[in-house]
């Protein structure tokens, strides 16, 4: 059978997942200090509801959602609020963070959670539970969950897609989650489908994860969830919502629109699991799976880690640096951001921490553009990155915008493929922000 994929552009970089994709997930140690930013998604920050020297319990609300574009934030560890200070997150967003020093007892860790009979809950209850526990879309749009599916309210959702592509190199957290915790993922999916009531559910996984596919197929059959698992061709950026919807349904999300505009909703694997924990076990979103990889890391692994753990602590957990890293990246190699401060905390949206050696990063020397056109061929959005880049360099943002600047999803395919190593993505990303619409045009 021809494996589904999106029609144009895209690249197939070496995936570098072999190490972490086979190893079991393990739990990181609890950090002594947790730095919990009040904005961990795109939208508005939560309002702190604790103050300095307050004692917090594990899983206690520390930041209350300010609006529907905001999400609750909980204390990942029990302890004392040392301070509330501004932090700069990767990507240059700054917000206040609650800094908690560990102290006191763990209420959730190691305790047997009480299982809620979610089947008897109605839509509104489920939706409220998801929101209360601070679940955000941890993979795609990074919007608070209720908003993410709230867009479906007035439209008919006909397809719910579980996004198990994980097409970006290095990342394998979703892969391990699908293999090891397949039933919680499926339950999370089922809960979301209860809320959005789609007419069909598709589980999309790239064909380089056969063990995940077979685990999902078995679990689907035994759980009786009405859905089918499709294998997609390995191709980056298939995990991007636009490409995924196109690959699975053939529908094209209009420029500036969202999946809901074409009756679809995508759900990330990590998010599905968080939904499960929130609704069924009543555990707020205080930890997530992070891939720690790169040649400079002593022990590459997928680790379940508390939100707010400083990156440095996490790297120590994995044996520290084996070599001097050229740079440390939070997020995937294509879409992530370089961090310079190892005290930067893990947030709900941190999919990976990569410590890359010089050999893994393509040379920094930029050569003149020779108009080879590879970036045009690789752009899944049908843009002409080199032309946009030149227009931006030339200071003509207006023209760049008319040629599709805001359609750029910052997938990084063009920059990856560029033989002259021109920092296309960085430039386009900055120009998008400067042009005003801000963010990814959502």
């Amino acid at each position: 059978m021809r494996r589904l994929t999106f029609p144009r552009g895209g690249i197939v970089p070496p995936d570098r997942k072999h190490q972490t994709g086979r190893a079991l997930l393990w739990n990181a140690a609890i950090p002594r200090t947790s730095i919990v930013p009040l904005l961990q998604h795109s939208g508005e920050p939560a309002i702190a509801c604790v103050s300095r020297m307050d004692r917090v319990r594990e899983g206690m609300l520390v930041g209350r959602a300010a609006s529907s574009r905001s999400a609750n934030v909980h204390a990942p560890i029990p302890g004392v609020v040392r301070e509330i200070r501004p932090v700069v997150l990767p990507g240059g967003i700054s917000c206040d963070a609650v800094v908690i020093d560990m102290d006191g007892e763990f209420d959730l860790l190691g305790k047997r959670a009480e299982v809620r009979d979610w089947q008897s809950c109605d839509r509104r209850t489920l939706s409220r539970l998801i929101a209360e526990h601070g679940v955000v879309d941890m993979d795609g749009s990074r919007l608070p969950m209720p908003l993410s599916y709230g867009r479906m309210d007035h439209r008919r959702c006909d397809t719910l897609i579980l996004n198990g592509c994980e097409s970006e190199p290095y990342l394998s957290g979703d892969h391990r989650t699908m293999v090891e915790q397949v039933s919680s993922v499926l339950t999370g999916l089922e809960i979301v489908s209860r809320v959005t009531r789609p007419s069909r559910i598709v589980i999309a996984v790239e064909s380089n994860k056969p063990d995940a596919i077979s685990a999902l197929r078995t679990a689907v059959r035994s759980s009786g969830l009405e859905s089918h698992v499709v294998r997609l061709r390995v191709r980056y950026p298939q995990g991007d919502e636009r490409q995924l919807v196109k690959a699975v349904t053939g529908r094209e999300i209009p420029s500036g629109g969202v999946a809901a505009d074409v009756g679809c909703m995508t759900l990330g694997v990590t998010t599905a699991r968080a939904v499960y924990e929130a609704v069924v076990l009543g555990i707020p979103l205080i930890e997530r799976v992070v891939t720690v990889a790169g040649r400079a890391i002593a022990e590459e692994a997928n680790v379940k880690v508390r939100i707010g753990t400083p990156v440095g602590d996490l790297i120590e957990e994995c044996g520290g640096f084996r070599k001097t890293p050229m740079k440390v990246v939070m997020g995937g190699p294509m879409t992530g951001h370089t961090v310079t401060d190892l005290r930067t905390p893990i947030t709900k949206g941190t999919r990976a921490v990569l410590a890359l050696t010089a050999g893994e990063i393509r040379g920094a020397r930029t050569l003149p553009c020779i108009q080879c056109g590879r970036c045009v061929t690789s752009c899944p959005m049908g843009l002409d990155p080199t032309r946009l880049y030149k227009l931006i360099e030339h200071g003509d943002l207006r023209r760049a915008a008319s040629e599709g600047l805001q359609d750029c999803t910052e997938c990084g395919a063009c920059g990856y493929i560029c033989p002259s190593r021109i920092p296309l993505v960085r430039q386009l990303r900055q120009a998008k922000i400067r042009h005003g619409d801000g963010g990814s045009g959502e």
Binding site: S255, Q371, G373, T377, G382
Partner: protein, 341 residues
């Protein structure tokens, strides 16, 4: 760029073997002056660019496209024109819209047509002296159409030598390979293919040039689109109409002869594929190659200058921005292609 240069070296080396030190001198003059002029121009623009290798490549291509008999000021002027006028006046590597090496060559070809079409006798593989004063193509073009002969027969009649090597290989081919398909290859083509003929320094050996392209394809420095489109349209046109100018009928053109002469291989694989001056997308490249093929054929058949391929390419270079506009991919999430603003 360095890799392309490397891939060209066997072909250039063969030229030096055929014509001796004189050819080496022309190549050296072209490369050296290209590098010097590039350095000077880059200095004026306060940029450092020698490391990208484009100057060396450009000089090499200029040298390879010249006759070994040209006075040495010709490669120097060609390099100067290429570097200053064609390349740096438009902003250096990436800014130029016309292939600098070809434009340099065309400039000197139109300026000194006499010197550019003087061909010394090459030292061929089995030391049979080639015919001085004409390349196979110019010889064939010079014959009047009323003789109504295939090009290879024209060469025979003009006393163009056939090497023993050619005779042997051709007969082996005829017996063992082509004979089974019922084809009988006349002698002469093998000489053209391996480069036992007169011509510009770098165009003689199609074999060595093609060998170099294997590496180019393997490293994905060039794609198949341009050479394939170029070849197909040129071959089809030659087959269908190519016989007419020789006094033959429709469908009697000699494709093999046409593509093995006049620097076709050099131009289609190494010059037309220059990324800077060719379109961005695969579709665009197909259009570009096809148009270049048609123009190359028309100019070769009816033009004054047998080396029409270079002219065809720079002519099509001019419409590349239009082709790019035409072949702009459809933007995701938009219903139709938006043509500019």
């Amino acid at each position: 760029m360095w890799i392309v240069t490397l891939c060209l070296l066997p072909g250039a080396g063969w030229g030096v073997y055929l014509y001796g030190t004189r050819a080496a001198l022309v190549l050296a003059a072209a490369i050296l002056s290209a590098v010097v002029f590039e350095a000077a121009a880059a200095r004026l623009a306060s940029r450092v660019t020698l490391r990208d290798g484009s100057a060396v490549l450009c000089g090499l291509l200029i040298g390879m496209s010249l006759s070994p008999a040209v006075p040495l000021f010709i490669p120097v002027v060609a390099s100067a024109f290429a570097m200053f006028v064609v390349k740096w006046s438009f902003g250096g590597l990436g800014g130029n819209w016309m292939n600098p090496a070809l434009a340099g060559r065309v400039f000197v070809a139109f300026s000194w047509p006499g010197a550019m079409t003087t061909w010394p006798a090459p030292r061929t593989l089995d030391l049979v002296d080639g015919l001085a004063g004409a390349t196979p193509l110019s010889l064939v073009k010079a014959t009047a159409p009323e003789r109504a002969q295939a090009p290879i027969a024209v060469l025979r009649d003009a006393g163009y030598p056939v090497s023993a090597f050619d005779t042997e290989v051709t007969s082996w081919l005829n017996v063992n390979v082509l004979g089974r398909a019922g084809v009988n290859l006349p002698t002469g083509y093998v000489d053209l293919f391996v480069g036992n003929v007169a011509g510009s320094i770098g165009e003689a050996s199609a074999l060595l040039l093609l060998a170099g392209t294997i590496f180019l394809f393997a490293r994905r420095i060039i794609t198949w689109h341009v050479p394939a489109a170029f070849f197909v349209t040129f071959a089809v046109c030659t087959r269908v109409f190519g016989g007419l100018t020789a006094g033959l009928g429709l469908f009697e053109g000699d494709v093999l002869f046409s593509v093995l002469t006049g620097g076709f291989v050099l131009a289609s694989f190494y010059m037309a594929t220059d990324p800077v001056t060719s379109p961005l997308t695969g579709g665009g490249m197909l259009i570009y190659g096809s148009v270049a093929g048609i123009i190359a054929f028309v100019l070769r058949a009816y033009g004054q200058f047998p080396e029409s391929v270079a002219l065809a390419i720079i002519l099509v270079n001019a419409v590349v921005p239009l082709i790019d506009r035409l072949c702009r991919p459809r933007r995701f999430g938009h219903r139709e292609v938006r043509h500019g603003s």
